[in-house]
């Protein structure tokens, strides 16, 4: 209950009305100790499992896009038919486990400092992402 107040405030302060659906999604995404990675499908499944009243898939897409827009989520660059999102919005990199299609965080200490020495005139760097693809040995 009182926990929701934080999310309601967060939503309000972003110009987003605190609807039942958005609060439900906030709780699922942000009311936990550790950050995590998910696809829309993952999220939909979790929501179905956890909440009683159904949230439309369109609303899930809308909400996630709004949250990404506001900077509460990051979209991870990966070659997949599905889009991956991250509740860890800090600058960091990833392993992608090709066996179970899972992202795993690589924090800055796990990666030597990356220095981009080439510049493109008139262009500004928006992000630098490292993706390390891994798979089972054999």
């Amino acid at each position: 209950m009182s926990n929701n107040t934080i999310f309601i405030e967060k939503l309000r302060s972003s110009g987003l009305r605190p609807t039942r659906q958005r609060i439900e999604i906030c709780k699922l995404l942000f009311d936990r100790k550790d950050t995590f990675h998910f696809t829309i499908n993952d999220l939909n499944n979790s929501l179905t499992r956890i909440t009683n009243e159904k949230i439309s898939l369109a609303t899930i897409y809308n909400t996630i896009h709004a949250f990404k827009e506001k900077g509460y989520l990051k979209e991870i660059s990966i070659n997949s038919n599905k889009t991956y999102f991250d509740t860890n919005i800090s600058n960091h990199h990833h392993f992608f486990d090709e066996d179970n299609k899972e992202l795993i965080d690589l924090n800055d200490k796990d990666v030597g400092k990356v220095k981009i020495k080439k510049i493109l005139p008139g262009k500004k760097i928006k992000s630098v992402e490292i993706l390390v693809k891994v798979a089972n040995n054999n």
Copy 2:
């Protein structure tokens, strides 16, 4: 003509029959000085422009997948609804220009050596890709 011989040999030696379609695609992809990046749609457009007899879209997909399988092409990890391919199969990284949705090579000298210090037991690193997203200043 005699140029095709190289591609015919290349295809044969990979266990791929040198069909008219595959040779046409080889010429378009590999008969040039510089490597480049493309999507299936780009390739289809180029083929339509250059060749007289039409190549089915299904064949283009089949061929590109076969070429990737044989290691003649790389697929670039990028978050897009389209898949990007690269005729530069060496280890290198990319800028992605979000304004015109274009990939630009970053060779090893342009990027300080990347060292991954974390290991995942039982997992083998398949690739390390850096994607630097850029966009117009203003």
